[in-house]
């Protein structure tokens, strides 16, 4: 299981498509920085099919005023949880 990390919003960049194409069925995706916009109900549809494997970084949501606006299916983790995700994954792949 790999951890993919995405820092761009699906509203502005098409790089999320590259992340999705490159993910194996058990891989996880963590949204950080502007990528956390993808946790909004209007944008989370770009990540259909990742139920249970989609995460967003709490600190980046909070900084942007988005913490209370996330779709419930997205698992919100803090930076300690980010490290834990990297421990659990065999390796990480970053998309930016």
């Amino acid at each position: 299981m790999l951890l993919h990390i995405l820092n761009r919003s699906p509203a502005t960049s098409r790089v999320y498509q590259q992340a999705l194409v490159s993910m194996a069925p058990e891989d996880r995706l963590l949204l950080i920085e502007d990528g956390v916009q993808g946790a909004l109900p209007q944008l989370v549809r770009y990540f259909d099919g990742l139920q249970g494997r989609l995460f967003a970084l709490r600190e980046d949501l909070v900084a942007r005023g988005l913490e209370g606006r996330c779709e419930a299916s997205v698992q919100v983790v803090d930076v300690d949880g980010f490290v834990a995700l990297t421990e659990e994954a065999e390796r990480t792949v970053s998309w930016y």
């Binding site: 990390i5 820092n7 950080i32 920085e33 502007d34 600190e59 930076v79 300690d80 980010f82 490290v83 834990a84 990297t86 421990e87 390796r91 990480t92 792949v93 970053s94 998309w95 930016y96």
Partner: protein
């Protein structure tokens, strides 16, 4: 576990430096070891010793130095990416006939081969891009 970070974004232009520093501190707090931060592409600007950010913003170059001092993390800067971007230590400045330098210890200019070695020898390599 033994971690390495690859940083590809410039400070004061994108969040990559902030994210990498935050992640670095969190992994150390969880008992891991951060062997090396490798600076490549625009990430080499993190080594700019002359950076003078406004006083109400975090000083990112100093933050890297503090991390290195506290945890023994190596700060390796790709020499080819650095030279073309104007980041030279005293030795490279002399070699290129330039007066003055823009990179100093604990940042060290090194070859890209180090990045590959790091990526293959550490347990985890985490990349922060712009």
């Amino acid at each position: 576990m033994r971690y390495a970070i690859l940083l590809l974004g410039a400070p004061y232009s994108c969040q990559a430096s902030h994210s990498a520093l935050r992640f670095a501190r969190a992994l150390v707090d969880r008992g891991h070891r951060l062997e090396t931060v490798f600076f490549y592409h625009d990430g080499v600007h993190n080594a700019a010793r002359l950076a003078a950010p406004p006083q109400d913003e975090p000083h990112l170059v100093d933050a890297w130095v503090a991390l290195s001092t506290e945890h023994g993390t190596a700060l390796q800067v790709c020499i080819a990416a650095a030279l073309r971007r104007g980041l030279l230590d005293a030795r490279e400045a002399a070699r290129h006939g330039k007066q003055g330098h823009s990179v100093e210890a604990p940042f060290e200019l090194t070859g890209l081969g180090q990045l590959v070695d790091l990526g293959l020898s550490c347990d985890r390599l985490v990349t922060f891009g712009p």
